[in-house]
Symmetry: C2
Subunit: 509 residues, 2 copies
Amino acid sequence: MADLHLVVDRAAGGVAAQIARELREAVRRGRLAAGVRLPASRELARDLGLSRGVVVEAYEQLVAEGFLISRIGAGTVVAPAAGRTAALPVPPAGPDGPSPTPEGPPRAGSRTAEARGARREREPYHGRRSTAPDLGAFPRERWLASMRRTLAALPAEALDYGDPGGVPALREELAAYLRRVRAADVSPDNLVIVGGVAQGISLTIQALAGRLPRGRSPHDLGWFVRRASRPAPPPGRIRLAVEDPAGGRQLPLLHAAGADLVAVPVDGEGLDVEALAATGARAVLLTPAHQYPTGVVLSPRRRAELIEWAAATGAAILEDDYDAEFRFDRDPVGCLQGLAADRVILIGSVSKSLAPGLRLGWVAAPPGIAESLRLARGELDLGSPVLEQYVLADFVTTGGYDRHLRRMRREYRARRDAFALALGEHLPEITVRGVSAGLHLLAELPYGWDEAAVAETAQDCGLAVEPVGPMRHAPGPPALVMGFARLPARRADATIRALADALRRRPAP
Amino acid sequence: MADLHLVVDRAAGGVAAQIARELREAVRRGRLAAGVRLPASRELARDLGLSRGVVVEAYEQLVAEGFLISRIGAGTVVAPAAGRTAALPVPPAGPDGPSPTPEGPPRAGSRTAEARGARREREPYHGRRSTAPDLGAFPRERWLASMRRTLAALPAEALDYGDPGGVPALREELAAYLRRVRAADVSPDNLVIVGGVAQGISLTIQALAGRLPRGRSPHDLGWFVRRASRPAPPPGRIRLAVEDPAGGRQLPLLHAAGADLVAVPVDGEGLDVEALAATGARAVLLTPAHQYPTGVVLSPRRRAELIEWAAATGAAILEDDYDAEFRFDRDPVGCLQGLAADRVILIGSVSKSLAPGLRLGWVAAPPGIAESLRLARGELDLGSPVLEQYVLADFVTTGGYDRHLRRMRREYRARRDAFALALGEHLPEITVRGVSAGLHLLAELPYGWDEAAVAETAQDCGLAVEPVGPMRHAPGPPALVMGFARLPARRADATIRALADALRRRPAP
C-alpha cells in the first residue's frame, strides 16, 4: 500500500482537484509506480480528515484520465501505462531537409566563425538584422486607434475563419496602394495576403514546382483512405535562379519549398540576364528595386531583357520588393510586376515599413497562381489572423500608413546621409556601393581585410552589420552589409569614429 | 508618332507622376504598342502647356521602369517587352496534391450533393461551421484593454522578428494554464505557438514524416548551390490512423503534410485500439476529450491501451484538444498528454474559446519534435505575429481568459440543454449521442432518412449543421453534427419546432 504524503490546503478550496493533482504528479515522477495499490477511499478520507466523497471524486478523475485503474474487489491501482519515460523516437532526418551541419571544410578567412556561431545561438532570432527598421518609431498610438475603430465596427462574423487569401477589405486597400505607390498592375482578386515575404516566396515556389492544390479537394474520409492505398509520387522541384550575392536567410526556405538553386551574378546593372539564360532556370528570384545586398537598381536594359527571357522561355519572375518604399535620391522605380503582370509575381510586406513582428505581407500574382496560394493556405494554416488585417486596412484607409512612410523616409534619408558621410570621413578605405535607398548600404572593404573580423568589431561598436562572404557563390571583394536605420543621424559620426579607432587597434589583418 | 490623349490636372500637383501614370496605363492596355515612338519631350511639353522638365521627368521614370526606351538620335519609343499579355503558364498539377475532382461515383444517397457543392462555392470559408463558437460573445473591450497595456509596455525590440516558436511570455502563460486546466505535463520549452490547430497538426505530421529540419541550416549561398547539383530524395510519408468518423476539413491538410490515411472505427468508448494495432500505423490523430463528430469520450481502458500500443510500437499520438475547455456534466478529463508526455503531442487553440480568426494555437510535444517545429517555422513563415501573442499572454495573466471561459461554459451549457430538450420534444425520432460538452452534438437520424436532405432543411431553418456521411469510411447510420453554440437558449424551442414542421412538410424520404 502506498504512503501518499498528500498535502491538502483546505482553505484554498477545490480539495478533490488538489488530491488529484498531487497523485497525478506522484505517478508522473515515478513516486507511485505502475501496479501500486492505493488506500481505499474510506481510509484515505479518514487519514486526511475529509469526507469520503472528496477522495472518490479525485480517484474517479484519475481513473477517467487513465492514471489509475479501479477493479471491483481489487481496489484502485496505478495504471501500467502511466508515467512511462521511454521517449518517442525522434524521426530520422528528412532526406529533403537540410542536415544539421554544412558539408565541406569551413570557409577560408572565417577564423571567428565558431565564435559567431556561438553568438548566433544565444540570440537565435531576435534583433540586429542589418536590414531592420527603427522599431522605436512604430506608430503605437495610431495602431491602437485603428484597432479600437476596428473592434468597434467589425461584425461578429468577421472574427470567424477568414478568407485564406486575406480579408477583402485589406486586399482592396493594398491593391490601390500598390497601384499608386509601386505602379503595380494588381486588383484585389489577384492579391493574396501572406504572413510576410518569407511565406509568400515559399508558397510561390511550391506553386511553381507543382506542389500546391489547384482546386478545392473533397473533404471525404472514404476518398482519402482509398487514395492512401496508392503510392504518392514525389513532389516536384524547380530550378530557381537567385542573385549572387543574395540574402542568406531565405536559402533554407527556398530549398525546403522545392527549389534547386543556381546562382547568377549581379553587376552594376543588377542581375546578368545573359548568364541567367544560360542556366536553364525555370524561375528567378530577384530584388530589382534595391538589390540585396549590393544596393544596385536593375537597369532599364536589364528589365527589358529579363521580361524577354521570361516570355521566350515561359519562366516566372519572383520580385522581392522588400524595401522599395525607401528611395532617397529620386522617386522609386515602379515595380517589374507593373511592366509584365502575366510573368512577374510581386512579393512585399510591412516588415520594413512598420515592423517584422506583424508578419503581414502580400503576393500579387497571375490569377492561377494567386488562386493556388489561396487554396494552399486553406489547407495549411487557414490564413493569416484576421483582426490585424482589418487594422492594417484601417491604417491605410485613414492615411496613417502614408504619413508614417513619409516621416520614416525623411528620417532614414538623414540617417543614411550621416552614416555615409561619417564612413567617408573616418574610414576612407571603405567604398560605399549602391543607390541611396533602403535601410542598409554595402560597404566594400579593401582587398585583404578580413570581413568577418571587421564585422565582429563593428557589432561590438553597436552596429548592425553582416559579412557578405556567406552571401556569395563566386568569390568577391570583402564587404559588409551595414544597417543605418537604427542609428540616429546625430550619433553616426561618433559611432563610426569609434569603429575606425577599434579597427586601427586590431592587429593588422 | 503616337497621339497620346493625355489628361493632366494641374491643380492636383505631381504633374510628372500623372503623365507617367497615364503613359504606363496606355502601354499596359495596348493603346501604345511596342516600338511606337513618343513625341519629343519639347513638343509634348508645348502641347500640354508644361515646362519641358516635367515631361523629361515622366519619360525618365518610365525608362527606369522599362516601359520606354530612349536612344540617342532615335527618340523615345515603347519598349518591346512592355504590355505583353501571354500568360505565365499555370504549373502542372502537383502529383502529391489532391486533384480537383474526387474519384469514383458520387456517394449513394447524396442526391443534393451538387446543390450543396454550389452553396459551398458561394460561401467558401466564412461562417456557419457547426463547431463555431458564439462570436458575438468575443470579449472585445477586454481584448482592446490587453492590447492597450501591451502597446504601452512592450520594448521596441519585441516588434522585431520573434522567436519562431512563440514569444516566451505567451509560452509561460500557456504552459501554466495547460498544466492547471488540462493537467498537461508541459513546460514553456516544449510548447510551440502555432497559427491554430491546422498548422499545428500539419507541422507535427511533417516532423514525424521526417520532412522538417532537425538543426539550424547554414545560410550560405555556395553551400546551397553545391547542394542543388545532387538530386533531392523524395520527402518521407507516414501511415497515420484517423478516427472513423472524423472531421473532414483536416483531411486534405493531413495528406499534403505527408500522411497516408487509414481509418479506425470509433465506438462508445472512443477509438478501437485493437483495430488500430492491426493497421500498422506509425501515428494516430484523435480527439479523446470529445470525439469529433460522435461526442464520445475515450474510456480509461482505451486510454491505457492506446499508451501501451504507442510504447510497444514507438508510434506517436496526436491529441487534438479542440474544444476540451467545454465540458458541462463534470470536470473535464485531463489530456492524454499529461499521462504520457513522451508519446503524446497535444494540439490546441483559442478558436473555440475566443475566435478562429485569431489563428493562435499551441503544440506541446517531446523536446525533439518541439524543436523541429520551431526550426520549421523559422524556415517557413518566421513564426506567428508577435503583437497578438503578447496580447493573449496579458489576457491570460490578468484573468480575462479564465473569466471568459467560465462565462461561456455557463452559457453553452444552457444552450446545449435547451437544444437537446427541444430535439427530444419536437423530433423524438432523433437520438442525441455523446457527452454534454463542446459546441456541437451528434444527432442520429432514423435509418432511411436522407441526412443530406435533412441537413439542407436544417440549414434553411438557420441551424449550423453538417451531414456525417462524408466523415465516414465504414458505413453508419444517417446523422448530423448540430452546432448549438450560436443559438440562444430562449430561441431553441421555436427553431427546432420550425425544423420539425419543415421536415414533416417534405415528401417522405
